[in-house]
Symmetry: C2
Subunit: 241 residues, 2 copies
Amino acid sequence: MATAGVIIIGNEILSGKVVDLNSPYLCRELRALGVDVERIATIPDDIDVIAREVRAMSDAYDFVFTSGGVGPTHDDLTMDGVAKAFDLPIQVYDSIVERIERAQGRVANASLIKMAALPAGAALVDAGDLWFPLVVVGNVYVFPGIPELLRRKFESIRERFRGEPFALRCVYVKLLESDIAAELHALLGEFPELRLGSYPRIGEAEFRVLLTLESRDAGYLQRALDSLLARLPPVAVAKVE
Amino acid sequence: MATAGVIIIGNEILSGKVVDLNSPYLCRELRALGVDVERIATIPDDIDVIAREVRAMSDAYDFVFTSGGVGPTHDDLTMDGVAKAFDLPIQVYDSIVERIERAQGRVANASLIKMAALPAGAALVDAGDLWFPLVVVGNVYVFPGIPELLRRKFESIRERFRGEPFALRCVYVKLLESDIAAELHALLGEFPELRLGSYPRIGEAEFRVLLTLESRDAGYLQRALDSLLARLPPVAVAKVE
Protein backbone atom coordinates (compact mmCIF):
# COMPACT_ATOMS: atom_id res chain seq x y z
CA MET A 1 0.00 0.00 0.00
CA ALA A 2 1.31 3.42 -0.91
CA THR A 3 2.09 5.76 2.00
CA ALA A 4 2.11 9.53 2.23
CA GLY A 5 3.15 12.38 4.49
CA VAL A 6 1.56 15.83 4.50
CA ILE A 7 3.44 19.01 5.44
CA ILE A 8 1.39 22.13 6.23
CA ILE A 9 3.65 25.17 6.09
CA GLY A 10 2.63 28.49 7.60
CA ASN A 11 2.88 30.63 10.72
CA GLU A 12 -0.76 31.61 10.19
CA ILE A 13 -1.87 28.05 11.05
CA LEU A 14 0.35 27.72 14.12
CA SER A 15 -0.73 31.12 15.44
CA GLY A 16 -4.40 30.22 15.08
CA LYS A 17 -5.23 32.95 12.55
CA VAL A 18 -6.16 30.54 9.76
CA VAL A 19 -7.67 27.05 10.09
CA ASP A 20 -5.96 24.42 7.94
CA LEU A 21 -8.52 23.05 5.49
CA ASN A 22 -5.94 21.36 3.28
CA SER A 23 -4.85 18.43 5.41
CA PRO A 24 -8.43 17.19 6.00
CA TYR A 25 -9.05 17.43 2.25
CA LEU A 26 -5.85 15.57 1.35
CA CYS A 27 -6.46 12.88 4.00
CA ARG A 28 -9.99 12.23 2.70
CA GLU A 29 -8.99 12.19 -0.95
CA LEU A 30 -5.89 10.05 -0.46
CA ARG A 31 -7.78 7.57 1.69
CA ALA A 32 -10.44 7.24 -1.01
CA LEU A 33 -7.67 6.57 -3.53
CA GLY A 34 -6.12 3.89 -1.31
CA VAL A 35 -3.12 5.88 -0.03
CA ASP A 36 -2.25 5.70 3.68
CA VAL A 37 -1.40 9.12 5.17
CA GLU A 38 0.98 8.27 8.01
CA ARG A 39 1.84 11.72 9.34
CA ILE A 40 0.90 15.38 9.11
CA ALA A 41 3.45 17.96 10.23
CA THR A 42 2.43 21.59 10.61
CA ILE A 43 5.52 23.79 10.68
CA PRO A 44 6.53 27.47 10.45
CA ASP A 45 7.82 29.44 7.45
CA ASP A 46 11.48 28.57 8.13
CA ILE A 47 13.82 27.24 5.45
CA ASP A 48 15.76 24.88 7.70
CA VAL A 49 12.66 23.44 9.37
CA ILE A 50 11.01 22.94 5.97
CA ALA A 51 14.16 21.31 4.56
CA ARG A 52 14.47 18.85 7.45
CA GLU A 53 10.81 17.88 7.35
CA VAL A 54 10.69 17.46 3.56
CA ARG A 55 13.82 15.32 3.57
CA ALA A 56 12.63 13.10 6.42
CA MET A 57 9.18 12.54 4.90
CA SER A 58 10.59 12.01 1.40
CA ASP A 59 12.76 9.21 2.78
CA ALA A 60 9.96 7.70 4.88
CA TYR A 61 6.93 7.73 2.55
CA ASP A 62 6.06 7.09 -1.08
CA PHE A 63 4.55 10.54 -1.58
CA VAL A 64 4.92 13.86 0.21
CA PHE A 65 2.42 16.70 -0.18
CA THR A 66 3.28 20.22 0.96
CA SER A 67 0.81 23.08 1.30
CA GLY A 68 1.63 26.76 1.66
CA GLY A 69 4.64 29.04 1.48
CA VAL A 70 4.65 29.48 -2.29
CA GLY A 71 4.24 33.02 -3.53
CA PRO A 72 6.04 36.30 -3.99
CA THR A 73 6.49 37.56 -0.42
CA HIS A 74 9.13 37.35 2.30
CA ASP A 75 7.39 34.51 4.13
CA ASP A 76 7.09 32.24 1.08
CA LEU A 77 10.04 29.95 1.71
CA THR A 78 8.83 26.52 0.66
CA MET A 79 10.74 26.37 -2.64
CA ASP A 80 13.96 27.30 -0.84
CA GLY A 81 13.25 24.68 1.80
CA VAL A 82 12.56 21.94 -0.74
CA ALA A 83 15.71 22.86 -2.67
CA LYS A 84 17.75 22.70 0.52
CA ALA A 85 16.23 19.34 1.42
CA PHE A 86 17.78 17.80 -1.69
CA ASP A 87 20.86 20.07 -2.05
CA LEU A 88 19.49 21.53 -5.27
CA PRO A 89 20.22 25.06 -6.50
CA ILE A 90 17.36 27.46 -7.14
CA GLN A 91 16.84 28.34 -10.79
CA VAL A 92 14.52 30.83 -12.49
CA TYR A 93 12.34 28.97 -15.00
CA ASP A 94 11.93 31.15 -18.11
CA SER A 95 8.87 29.17 -19.14
CA ILE A 96 7.13 30.23 -15.92
CA VAL A 97 8.19 33.86 -16.29
CA GLU A 98 6.64 33.79 -19.75
CA ARG A 99 3.39 32.32 -18.38
CA ILE A 100 3.29 34.96 -15.64
CA GLU A 101 3.81 37.76 -18.17
CA ARG A 102 1.15 36.32 -20.47
CA ALA A 103 -1.32 35.93 -17.60
CA GLN A 104 -0.72 39.42 -16.21
CA GLY A 105 -0.14 41.21 -19.55
CA ARG A 106 2.97 43.00 -18.30
CA VAL A 107 6.67 42.53 -17.68
CA ALA A 108 7.30 40.50 -14.51
CA ASN A 109 8.71 42.46 -11.58
CA ALA A 110 11.21 41.04 -9.10
CA SER A 111 8.45 39.63 -6.89
CA LEU A 112 6.84 37.77 -9.77
CA ILE A 113 10.21 36.46 -10.92
CA LYS A 114 10.67 35.07 -7.38
CA MET A 115 7.64 32.87 -8.05
CA ALA A 116 9.44 31.37 -11.05
CA ALA A 117 12.51 30.53 -8.94
CA LEU A 118 12.24 26.78 -8.26
CA PRO A 119 14.51 23.90 -7.29
CA ALA A 120 16.59 22.96 -10.33
CA GLY A 121 15.28 19.83 -12.00
CA ALA A 122 11.73 20.23 -10.68
CA ALA A 123 9.08 18.65 -12.88
CA LEU A 124 6.36 21.08 -13.92
CA VAL A 125 2.91 19.54 -14.35
CA ASP A 126 0.20 21.55 -16.05
CA ALA A 127 -2.81 21.76 -13.76
CA GLY A 128 -6.06 22.29 -15.59
CA ASP A 129 -6.54 25.91 -16.58
CA LEU A 130 -4.30 27.34 -13.85
CA TRP A 131 -1.44 29.41 -15.23
CA PHE A 132 1.02 28.25 -12.58
CA PRO A 133 2.01 24.59 -12.97
CA LEU A 134 2.23 22.06 -10.16
CA VAL A 135 5.84 21.73 -9.01
CA VAL A 136 7.11 18.20 -8.30
CA VAL A 137 10.57 17.48 -6.88
CA GLY A 138 11.25 13.75 -6.70
CA ASN A 139 8.33 12.36 -4.69
CA VAL A 140 7.43 15.78 -3.22
CA TYR A 141 4.34 17.57 -4.58
CA VAL A 142 4.41 21.29 -3.78
CA PHE A 143 0.93 22.79 -3.48
CA PRO A 144 -0.17 26.36 -2.73
CA GLY A 145 -1.87 27.06 0.60
CA ILE A 146 -5.02 28.62 -0.87
CA PRO A 147 -7.57 25.79 -0.58
CA GLU A 148 -9.31 26.47 -3.92
CA LEU A 149 -6.00 26.28 -5.80
CA LEU A 150 -4.76 23.25 -3.91
CA ARG A 151 -7.95 21.36 -4.75
CA ARG A 152 -7.87 22.23 -8.43
CA LYS A 153 -4.25 21.18 -8.67
CA PHE A 154 -4.82 17.95 -6.77
CA GLU A 155 -7.82 17.05 -8.90
CA SER A 156 -5.75 17.46 -12.05
CA ILE A 157 -3.31 14.73 -10.95
CA ARG A 158 -5.31 12.58 -8.53
CA GLU A 159 -5.43 9.53 -10.77
CA ARG A 160 -1.68 9.03 -10.51
CA PHE A 161 -2.14 8.11 -6.84
CA ARG A 162 -4.94 5.58 -7.28
CA GLY A 163 -4.31 2.23 -5.61
CA GLU A 164 -6.60 -0.34 -4.02
CA PRO A 165 -8.89 1.51 -1.62
CA PHE A 166 -10.26 0.31 1.70
CA ALA A 167 -13.81 -0.87 2.08
CA LEU A 168 -15.48 0.68 5.14
CA ARG A 169 -18.42 -0.35 7.34
CA CYS A 170 -19.76 1.68 10.27
CA VAL A 171 -21.55 0.30 13.32
CA TYR A 172 -23.32 2.69 15.73
CA VAL A 173 -23.49 1.28 19.25
CA LYS A 174 -25.67 2.38 22.16
CA LEU A 175 -23.38 1.06 24.90
CA LEU A 176 -20.45 2.79 26.58
CA GLU A 177 -17.05 2.19 25.02
CA SER A 178 -15.90 0.56 28.25
CA ASP A 179 -18.72 -1.99 27.96
CA ILE A 180 -17.65 -3.23 24.52
CA ALA A 181 -13.87 -2.89 24.77
CA ALA A 182 -13.42 -6.59 25.64
CA GLU A 183 -15.48 -7.67 22.61
CA LEU A 184 -13.48 -5.39 20.33
CA HIS A 185 -10.29 -6.86 21.66
CA ALA A 186 -11.55 -10.39 20.99
CA LEU A 187 -12.66 -9.38 17.49
CA LEU A 188 -9.15 -8.18 16.69
CA GLY A 189 -7.81 -11.50 17.99
CA GLU A 190 -9.96 -13.27 15.40
CA PHE A 191 -9.35 -10.70 12.62
CA PRO A 192 -5.86 -9.31 13.19
CA GLU A 193 -5.75 -7.56 9.78
CA LEU A 194 -8.94 -5.61 10.45
CA ARG A 195 -8.57 -1.85 10.86
CA LEU A 196 -10.94 -1.15 13.71
CA GLY A 197 -11.72 2.30 15.04
CA SER A 198 -13.79 3.10 18.14
CA TYR A 199 -14.98 6.69 18.61
CA PRO A 200 -17.10 7.73 21.59
CA ARG A 201 -19.49 10.60 20.93
CA ILE A 202 -21.09 13.06 23.30
CA GLY A 203 -24.47 14.55 22.63
CA GLU A 204 -25.76 12.04 20.04
CA ALA A 205 -29.28 10.84 20.80
CA GLU A 206 -29.09 7.51 18.94
CA PHE A 207 -25.68 6.10 19.82
CA ARG A 208 -22.67 6.49 22.11
CA VAL A 209 -19.87 4.88 20.09
CA LEU A 210 -19.12 4.80 16.37
CA LEU A 211 -17.17 1.74 15.30
CA THR A 212 -15.40 1.75 11.92
CA LEU A 213 -14.26 -1.48 10.28
CA GLU A 214 -11.94 -1.34 7.28
CA SER A 215 -10.16 -3.80 5.03
CA ARG A 216 -9.00 -3.99 1.41
CA ASP A 217 -10.60 -7.46 1.28
CA ALA A 218 -14.39 -7.17 1.05
CA GLY A 219 -14.96 -10.79 2.13
CA TYR A 220 -12.70 -10.43 5.16
CA LEU A 221 -14.51 -7.23 6.09
CA GLN A 222 -17.93 -8.90 5.86
CA ARG A 223 -16.81 -11.84 8.02
CA ALA A 224 -15.41 -9.43 10.61
CA LEU A 225 -18.65 -7.43 10.59
CA ASP A 226 -20.70 -10.59 11.06
CA SER A 227 -18.47 -11.64 13.94
CA LEU A 228 -18.77 -8.24 15.59
CA LEU A 229 -22.56 -8.23 15.33
CA ALA A 230 -22.68 -11.74 16.83
CA ARG A 231 -20.60 -10.52 19.78
CA LEU A 232 -22.81 -7.52 20.61
CA PRO A 233 -26.30 -7.73 22.14
CA PRO A 234 -28.62 -7.00 19.16
CA VAL A 235 -30.44 -4.30 21.13
CA ALA A 236 -27.14 -2.42 21.53
CA VAL A 237 -26.71 -1.83 17.80
CA ALA A 238 -28.44 1.36 16.65
CA LYS A 239 -27.43 1.19 12.98
CA VAL A 240 -25.06 -0.51 10.53
CA GLU A 241 -23.86 1.32 7.41
CA MET B 1 8.45 33.59 25.17
CA ALA B 2 7.08 30.19 26.08
CA THR B 3 6.92 27.63 23.27
CA ALA B 4 4.64 24.67 22.72
CA GLY B 5 4.19 21.62 20.55
CA VAL B 6 0.86 19.93 19.85
CA ILE B 7 0.49 16.20 19.12
CA ILE B 8 -2.78 15.00 17.59
CA ILE B 9 -3.05 11.24 18.00
CA GLY B 10 -5.50 9.16 15.99
CA ASN B 11 -5.87 7.07 12.85
CA GLU B 12 -9.31 8.62 12.37
CA ILE B 13 -7.71 12.00 11.60
CA LEU B 14 -5.09 10.60 9.21
CA SER B 15 -7.69 8.51 7.37
CA GLY B 16 -9.94 11.54 6.88
CA LYS B 17 -12.87 10.16 8.88
CA VAL B 18 -12.74 12.87 11.53
CA VAL B 19 -11.60 16.49 11.17
CA ASP B 20 -9.23 17.66 13.90
CA LEU B 21 -10.88 20.54 15.75
CA ASN B 22 -8.47 20.44 18.66
CA SER B 23 -5.29 21.84 17.15
CA PRO B 24 -7.02 24.98 15.79
CA TYR B 25 -8.56 25.51 19.24
CA LEU B 26 -5.26 25.04 21.07
CA CYS B 27 -3.38 27.28 18.60
CA ARG B 28 -5.90 30.08 19.03
CA GLU B 29 -6.04 29.82 22.81
CA LEU B 30 -2.30 29.51 23.30
CA ARG B 31 -1.61 32.43 20.97
CA ALA B 32 -4.04 34.59 22.94
CA LEU B 33 -2.19 33.60 26.11
CA GLY B 34 1.19 34.51 24.60
CA VAL B 35 2.48 30.98 23.93
CA ASP B 36 4.16 30.24 20.58
CA VAL B 37 3.01 26.93 19.07
CA GLU B 38 6.01 25.83 16.99
CA ARG B 39 4.82 22.51 15.61
CA ILE B 40 1.78 20.28 15.28
CA ALA B 41 2.35 16.59 14.59
CA THR B 42 -0.59 14.37 13.66
CA ILE B 43 0.34 10.73 14.17
CA PRO B 44 -1.26 7.27 14.31
CA ASP B 45 -2.28 5.19 17.34
CA ASP B 46 1.14 3.53 17.66
CA ILE B 47 3.03 3.33 20.95
CA ASP B 48 6.50 3.76 19.48
CA VAL B 49 5.51 6.67 17.23
CA ILE B 50 3.77 8.37 20.15
CA ALA B 51 6.77 7.80 22.43
CA ARG B 52 9.26 9.26 19.94
CA GLU B 53 7.12 12.31 19.22
CA VAL B 54 6.37 13.04 22.88
CA ARG B 55 10.02 12.75 23.82
CA ALA B 56 11.23 14.96 20.97
CA MET B 57 8.66 17.68 21.65
CA SER B 58 9.15 17.52 25.41
CA ASP B 59 12.84 18.23 24.86
CA ALA B 60 12.24 20.95 22.28
CA TYR B 61 9.42 23.02 23.78
CA ASP B 62 8.27 24.40 27.12
CA PHE B 63 4.86 22.70 26.93
CA VAL B 64 3.50 19.73 25.00
CA PHE B 65 -0.21 19.13 24.49
CA THR B 66 -1.48 15.76 23.29
CA SER B 67 -5.01 15.05 22.10
CA GLY B 68 -6.61 11.66 21.62
CA GLY B 69 -5.87 8.02 22.33
CA VAL B 70 -7.07 8.02 25.95
CA GLY B 71 -9.89 5.63 26.71
CA PRO B 72 -10.72 1.99 27.33
CA THR B 73 -10.30 0.41 23.88
CA HIS B 74 -7.54 -1.33 21.91
CA ASP B 75 -6.60 1.82 19.98
CA ASP B 76 -6.15 4.03 23.07
CA LEU B 77 -2.38 3.92 23.38
CA THR B 78 -1.40 7.44 24.40
CA MET B 79 -0.72 6.65 28.07
CA ASP B 80 1.53 3.75 27.06
CA GLY B 81 3.31 6.00 24.56
CA VAL B 82 3.87 8.79 27.09
CA ALA B 83 5.15 6.27 29.66
CA LYS B 84 7.56 4.83 27.09
CA ALA B 85 8.76 8.31 26.13
CA PHE B 86 10.09 8.81 29.66
CA ASP B 87 10.87 5.16 30.58
CA LEU B 88 8.14 5.17 33.21
CA PRO B 89 6.17 2.09 34.27
CA ILE B 90 2.39 2.07 33.96
CA GLN B 91 0.55 2.03 37.27
CA VAL B 92 -3.13 1.69 38.12
CA TYR B 93 -4.21 4.73 40.16
CA ASP B 94 -6.65 3.58 42.84
CA SER B 95 -7.94 7.12 43.27
CA ILE B 96 -9.10 7.10 39.63
CA VAL B 97 -10.66 3.65 39.92
CA GLU B 98 -12.63 4.99 42.88
CA ARG B 99 -13.76 8.04 40.89
CA ILE B 100 -14.82 5.80 37.99
CA GLU B 101 -16.80 3.53 40.30
CA ARG B 102 -18.44 6.51 41.98
CA ALA B 103 -19.31 8.10 38.63
CA GLN B 104 -20.70 4.89 37.14
CA GLY B 105 -22.22 3.45 40.32
CA ARG B 106 -20.74 -0.03 39.75
CA VAL B 107 -17.54 -2.01 40.11
CA ALA B 108 -15.03 -1.11 37.41
CA ASN B 109 -14.47 -3.78 34.76
CA ALA B 110 -11.11 -4.47 33.10
CA SER B 111 -11.73 -1.84 30.42
CA LEU B 112 -12.48 0.86 32.96
CA ILE B 113 -9.46 -0.11 35.02
CA LYS B 114 -7.36 0.36 31.85
CA MET B 115 -8.40 4.02 31.92
CA ALA B 116 -6.88 4.33 35.40
CA ALA B 117 -3.55 2.89 34.21
CA LEU B 118 -1.25 5.90 33.83
CA PRO B 119 2.47 6.62 33.72
CA ALA B 120 3.85 6.33 37.26
CA GLY B 121 4.41 9.73 38.82
CA ALA B 122 1.88 11.52 36.63
CA ALA B 123 0.34 14.59 38.22
CA LEU B 124 -3.45 14.50 38.33
CA VAL B 125 -5.15 17.88 38.03
CA ASP B 126 -8.83 18.18 38.81
CA ALA B 127 -10.60 19.67 35.83
CA GLY B 128 -13.80 21.48 36.73
CA ASP B 129 -16.66 19.05 37.26
CA LEU B 130 -15.21 16.28 35.06
CA TRP B 131 -14.74 13.02 36.91
CA PHE B 132 -11.55 12.15 35.07
CA PRO B 133 -8.63 14.40 36.02
CA LEU B 134 -6.19 15.99 33.58
CA VAL B 135 -3.01 13.89 33.41
CA VAL B 136 0.31 15.76 33.35
CA VAL B 137 3.67 14.03 32.92
CA GLY B 138 6.55 16.50 33.24
CA ASN B 139 5.75 19.22 30.70
CA VAL B 140 3.31 16.99 28.76
CA TYR B 141 -0.44 17.65 29.14
CA VAL B 142 -2.51 14.65 28.06
CA PHE B 143 -5.95 15.63 26.76
CA PRO B 144 -8.81 13.49 25.46
CA GLY B 145 -9.67 13.72 21.77
CA ILE B 146 -13.34 14.61 22.25
CA PRO B 147 -13.38 18.37 21.59
CA GLU B 148 -15.93 19.21 24.31
CA LEU B 149 -13.83 17.46 26.96
CA LEU B 150 -10.54 18.87 25.73
CA ARG B 151 -11.92 22.40 25.92
CA ARG B 152 -13.34 22.01 29.40
CA LYS B 153 -10.05 20.59 30.63
CA PHE B 154 -7.98 23.27 28.93
CA GLU B 155 -10.16 26.03 30.33
CA SER B 156 -9.68 24.69 33.84
CA ILE B 157 -5.89 25.21 33.62
CA ARG B 158 -5.44 27.90 30.99
CA GLU B 159 -4.16 30.54 33.40
CA ARG B 160 -1.02 28.56 34.13
CA PHE B 161 0.14 29.23 30.55
CA ARG B 162 -0.47 32.99 30.49
CA GLY B 163 2.50 35.05 29.34
CA GLU B 164 2.80 38.31 27.45
CA PRO B 165 0.53 38.10 24.43
CA PHE B 166 1.10 39.60 20.99
CA ALA B 167 -0.72 42.70 19.85
CA LEU B 168 -2.17 42.26 16.35
CA ARG B 169 -3.16 44.71 13.60
CA CYS B 170 -4.68 43.70 10.27
CA VAL B 171 -4.40 45.62 6.99
CA TYR B 172 -6.60 44.65 4.02
CA VAL B 173 -4.97 45.55 0.70
CA LYS B 174 -6.56 45.79 -2.74
CA LEU B 175 -3.34 45.16 -4.71
CA LEU B 176 -1.83 41.84 -5.76
CA GLU B 177 0.66 40.33 -3.36
CA SER B 178 3.34 40.58 -6.05
CA ASP B 179 2.78 44.34 -6.22
CA ILE B 180 3.48 44.92 -2.54
CA ALA B 181 6.14 42.28 -1.88
CA ALA B 182 8.99 44.79 -2.26
CA GLU B 183 7.37 47.19 0.24
CA LEU B 184 6.86 44.38 2.74
CA HIS B 185 10.49 43.40 2.38
CA ALA B 186 11.59 46.98 3.02
CA LEU B 187 9.26 47.20 6.03
CA LEU B 188 10.92 44.15 7.58
CA GLY B 189 14.30 45.79 6.94
CA GLU B 190 13.17 48.72 9.08
CA PHE B 191 11.33 46.59 11.68
CA PRO B 192 13.19 43.27 11.87
CA GLU B 193 11.32 42.17 15.03
CA LEU B 194 7.92 42.59 13.42
CA ARG B 195 5.95 39.40 12.77
CA LEU B 196 4.47 40.10 9.37
CA GLY B 197 2.06 37.77 7.58
CA SER B 198 0.80 38.19 4.01
CA TYR B 199 -2.20 36.10 2.95
CA PRO B 200 -3.68 36.35 -0.54
CA ARG B 201 -7.41 35.68 -0.75
CA ILE B 202 -9.52 34.55 -3.66
CA GLY B 203 -13.13 35.59 -4.00
CA GLU B 204 -13.15 38.55 -1.58
CA ALA B 205 -14.83 41.61 -3.07
CA GLU B 206 -13.06 44.24 -0.94
CA PHE B 207 -9.44 43.11 -0.81
CA ARG B 208 -6.89 40.74 -2.32
CA VAL B 209 -4.33 40.42 0.47
CA LEU B 210 -4.65 40.34 4.26
CA LEU B 211 -1.55 41.60 6.05
CA THR B 212 -1.11 40.77 9.74
CA LEU B 213 1.36 42.72 11.89
CA GLU B 214 2.24 41.43 15.35
CA SER B 215 4.53 42.42 18.18
CA ARG B 216 4.63 42.18 21.95
CA ASP B 217 5.58 45.89 22.01
CA ALA B 218 2.53 48.04 21.27
CA GLY B 219 4.64 51.12 20.41
CA TYR B 220 6.83 49.16 18.00
CA LEU B 221 3.71 47.72 16.37
CA GLN B 222 2.16 51.17 15.91
CA ARG B 223 5.38 52.55 14.35
CA ALA B 224 5.55 49.57 11.99
CA LEU B 225 1.89 50.03 11.03
CA ASP B 226 2.46 53.75 10.34
CA SER B 227 5.49 52.91 8.22
CA LEU B 228 3.56 50.30 6.24
CA LEU B 229 0.67 52.68 5.56
CA ALA B 230 3.13 55.36 4.40
CA ARG B 231 4.64 52.85 1.95
CA LEU B 232 1.34 51.83 0.34
CA PRO B 233 -0.74 54.05 -1.98
CA PRO B 234 -3.64 55.18 0.27
CA VAL B 235 -6.19 54.05 -2.33
CA ALA B 236 -4.80 50.50 -2.07
CA VAL B 237 -5.79 50.10 1.59
CA ALA B 238 -9.33 48.79 1.98
CA LYS B 239 -9.40 48.62 5.78
CA VAL B 240 -7.19 48.70 8.88
CA GLU B 241 -8.23 46.81 12.02
